[in-house]
């Protein structure tokens, strides 16, 4: 025995260990999930930025002719084997979109809501890429979203443990920030400040996110399937559901949609409808998600054969409303522009809090475990999760502008740029960390972020890819955010260079 007293196993020590390790192991992916989730708040706007050719000359008034053209496009998609649906124009996205799920995200043609003509918009992964990555990690809706849900529970555990550690000093933590203090102290202050200020948002988003896909992680309920069948006795005795017709019989032509949309608006008592799904026997028109914080997904069902009204599904029971509230709060389709910006800023703060937590983990353990291989790998991984992810996100935007608009399989190329750069940043980070030069690695990656962030508005202006008078707030906002990213990278760079010299 050394004669030293072992550290007392107190409640705070237990919680500290839990917070550190669960936070670290889950934090690598959670940082990326939160970052992409934050960008998804403006997914539609990002898609608009990435499709500068899609410009409307007049107000987005939906016409019967346009809908007829959309149906023809939809039928053409069906012959290619895609099960497409129609996204109707809204204030936020004034186009008709004929979209299908390609196994990773929703993609498809953009149509003018007045004429129904296909707009010459480039194929892009757009904001949908961030949304899809956020909840499936590009691993499909089952495996990916299960992993994300488990990680959300891990985050709730880490948050609970973090609160338990700091419960006695909540108020000092809330008001104390010493950015020019010694390194671990400054990082810890920043971690605590962001964590505490945005704690309600963090818990709300993490909990609602976990609830949305909660069924993936909880055991299957044995009574559920039987009662689902019981509630919807659609079977016609030959093992096929009533709405399914034999494969050899072609589905009837889709009836004119504009009268159905008007009828659906009246039946659902909503000002707008958002999308239309088609089965072989039914046309289902869904109400708009933006109408309220309760994301109810009310729908009106019409016969596909002759367009006559069949039924409405309106969820107003307390249990359904509770679920709808969880969905509404997480998807954030209801808020005004101001509230969306608040979501965005809060998301950024939570991402920063997690990234700082990762950095802090390695700062605190450098002296004791700095020589360990796992430490070096972890540090490289942290680098790729913080600066590497930022750089690859910026590279994704660069790819959108640099790749030819007519490039075949363009979406795949855009996404590949993102992942290749992210992988490279990991390799780069690990190499520098293994060579015991992590600071040099951080500096180089931050330089890459600086160049990519400040260069993108210049590239955008030089390429003249869009008319600056059309939707100027979009382009100015993106450029403003890129400038801000550049400034943050510059400040960080200066401080790191000073640390490298000292």
């Amino acid at each position: 025995m050394t004669g030293e007293k072992p550290k007392r196993e107190t409640f705070r020590v237990h919680m500290g260990w839990l917070h550190s390790w669960v936070g670290l192991l889950a934090g690598f992916i959670l940082t990326a999930i939160f970052a992409t989730g934050t960008l998804s708040v403006f997914d539609t706007e990002i898609t608009h930025w990435m499709q500068p050719e899609a410009v409307l000359t007049g107000p987005p008034a939906l016409t019967a002719h346009a809908l007829q053209n959309a149906v023809e496009t939809l039928e053409a998609e069906k012959t290619k084997g895609f099960s497409a649906f129609l996204n109707l124009p809204s204030v936020r996205d004034p186009f008709i979109r004929v979209i299908h799920y390609d196994g990773a995200q929703f993609v498809g043609a953009v149509l003018d809501p007045k004429t129904g003509d296909a707009l010459p918009a480039r194929q892009t992964a757009g904001g949908q890429f961030f949304f899809d990555f956020h909840y499936t990690l590009r691993s499909g809706p089952v495996i990916g979203s299960t992993i994300v849900t488990i990680l959300a529970v891990c985050l709730l555990v880490a948050v609970g443990a973090g609160v338990a550690i700091h419960i006695r000093a909540l108020w000092p933590d809330l008001v104390l920030f010493r950015p020019f203090g010694p390194r671990p102290r400054a990082w810890l202050d920043a971690h605590l400040l962001t964590g505490l200020l945005f704690l309600p948002f963090l818990i709300m988003m993490t909990y609602t996110g976990a609830v949305i896909r909660g069924r993936n992680i909880l055991p299957p309920h044995p009574f559920l399937a039987a009662h689902t069948e019981l509630d919807h006795p659609r079977g016609n005795g030959n093992g096929r559901r009533a709405h399914e017709t034999p494969a050899q019989q072609p589905a009837p032509a889709i009836p004119p949609l504009l009268p159905l949309i008007e009828q659906a608006k009246t039946a659902l008592n909503l000002p707008e409808c958002s999308f239309i799904l088609f089965s072989d026997t039914e046309v289902r028109i869904f109400g708009n998600d933006t109408a309220s914080v309760f994301m109810n997904r009310d729908m009106a069902v019409f016969s596909r054969t002759d367009g006559h009204f069949l039924s409405t599904t309106i969820h107003r029971e307390p249990a359904s409303q509770a679920t709808a509230l969880m969905h509404g709060l997480h998807y954030a389709r209801f808020p005004s522009l101001l509230l969306r910006w608040l979501y965005f800023i809060s998301g950024l703060a939570c991402t920063a809090m997690m990234a700082i937590g990762l950095i802090l983990f390695f700062i605190k353990r450098r002296r004791a475990s700095g020589d360990m291989l796992t430490f070096r790998l972890g540090e490289g991984l942290t680098m790729s999760c913080v600066t590497g992810l930022t750089a690859s996100t910026l590279a994704f935007f660069w790819a959108n502008r640099l790749l030819p608009a007519t490039l075949p399989n363009r979406i795949h190329s855009e996404v590949s740029v993102f992942f290749i750069l992210w992988a490279l940043s990991f390799v780069h980070g690990v190499c520098f960390s293994l060579c015991k030069k992590p600071l040099s690695g951080w500096i180089m990656q931050t330089q890459a972020v600086l160049v990519l962030a400040l260069g993108l508005p210049l590239l955008d202006a030089a390429g003249q890819s869009h008319d600056w008078h059309h939707n100027p707030s979009l382009y100015y906002s993106v450029d403003g955010l890129l400038f801000l990213t550049g400034v943050i990278a510059l400040v960080a760079l200066k401080r790191m260079k000073r640390a490298e010299l000292s």
């Binding site: 237990h14 529970v153 609970g160 338990a164 909660g214 909880l218 309920h221 009662h227």
Partner: protein
Amino acid sequence: MAFLTSLALSPGQKTKQQQKRLLVYKRILWLLAASLLAYAVCHYGTLLALDTHGEDNRVRVNVIEMFGVALLPLLLLVGYGARTYKWGLWSLVVLAGGMTLSGWWLA
């Protein structure tokens, strides 16, 4: 690397390192046990809250899952965090056992 470092350590330091490692293993085991028991409590709680012969399970299960997802991290924290006072895991064992028994009783 860790092996080479351990060779260079004095016996006293080795014992300290072994103690530290043992402590970490214990913590991991405790955390695993807490996770499993918390999960079992959520599972049995969900089954107990469902009405076996009811028609409204489709709606009811959504709400129950909401509670389940909220309970999971809380129970895990209780199970792991209360190990200082040695009652964390016991409380989860009692909860899971109680729910299983009442499930059988009700069935």
